[in-house]
């Protein structure tokens, strides 16, 4: 069953649902990197996350997944879900590289 198929799709589309969750993934990537910097540099953030879920890493993962899932459903209701696959892939790959480099860079300098 094609859950992403709609009458608006052309061959350059990745599908509405895939586009929406691809974008939410890109945002979650950058969110993940920002949370790393915040919790590693501000003890109150680290401790708050640990108190939230018993361990800061568990809370971090939950926050990332919430951003990914919630924004995916939000984006699916907007015109952003109809962007071209080329633009989507640029966002997905760019966010992966940038989010990864921020984390690698932070722990290299830390």
């Amino acid at each position: 069953m094609d859950i992403t198929q709609s009458t608006h799709e052309n061959s350059d589309s990745a599908g509405v649902t895939a586009t929406a969750f691809g974008l939410s993934y890109a945002v979650a990537c950058l969110f993940n990197a920002v949370v790393v910097i915040l919790k590693e540099t501000i003890p109150a953030v680290h401790d708050g996350m640990a108190a939230l879920a018993g361990h800061h890493w568990v809370a971090h993962g939950l926050l990332d997944l919430i951003v990914f899932v919630v924004l995916g459903f939000v984006f699916a209701r907007t015109s952003l879900a109809h962007m071209s696959a080329k633009a989507l892939i640029t966002n997905v790959v760019g966010a992966t590289v940038l989010g990864g480099l921020i984390i690698v860079g932070f722990f290299t300098l830390a």
């Binding site: 568990v58 993962g61 990914f68």
Partner: protein, 154 residues
């Protein structure tokens, strides 16, 4: 099951997830009505295996890693924790979300939508590359424990 065996499941599930992602990549290069169902099944399998990798590794990290961390930090390869483990534990969230995105991406009409095919190729490729990086980082962490224990006994 011993906790050491539990730890071994972590890279095992990770490698199997990576193989499933490679399968998706190659099958998508040759997509047709005949293999769309298989691509979707392998995409789901990749995500299930990656989630198992996360759950098993996460359990180990939260419950048992503290001992290894103390050993590593007391040894000559402290960077295997301060860089490799710290980086790995945070980059893994990206791999997990990528594998989940793959499940969604393979549900599109891959035989008709070239954009959907390209997205699946990029996402599965990123899963493979990032999973390889995770496996490599895991090797450094294991070696960090080993050289610390060797330094202690020699």
């Amino acid at each position: 099951m011993s906790k050491e065996m539990l730890l071994m499941l972590h890279p095992t599930f990770g490698i199997l997830a990576m193989i499933a992602a490679i399968w998706v990549f190659v099958d998508t290069l040759n997509v047709s009505d005949a293999n769309v169902g298989r691509i979707r099944s392998m995409g789901v399998l990749c995500a299930v295996l990656m989630w198992l990798t996360y759950i098993v590794g996460g359990y180990w990290y939260v419950v048992n890693y503290g001992v290894d961390k103390a050993i590593i930090k007391a040894g000559p390869w402290g960077f295997s924790h301060s860089f490799f483990m710290e980086t790995k534990e945070h980059l893994f969230f990206l791999v997990l979300m990528l594998a989940t995105l793959l499940v969604i991406a393979v549900q599109s009409n891959l035989a008709r939508l070239s954009g959907a095919r390209n997205l699946v190729l990029w996402v599965s490729g990123l899963v493979v590359l990032s999973a390889l990086a995770m496996e490599g980082a895991g090797a450094f962490i294991s070696m960090g424990v080993k050289v610390a224990l060797l330094a202690k006994t020699l």
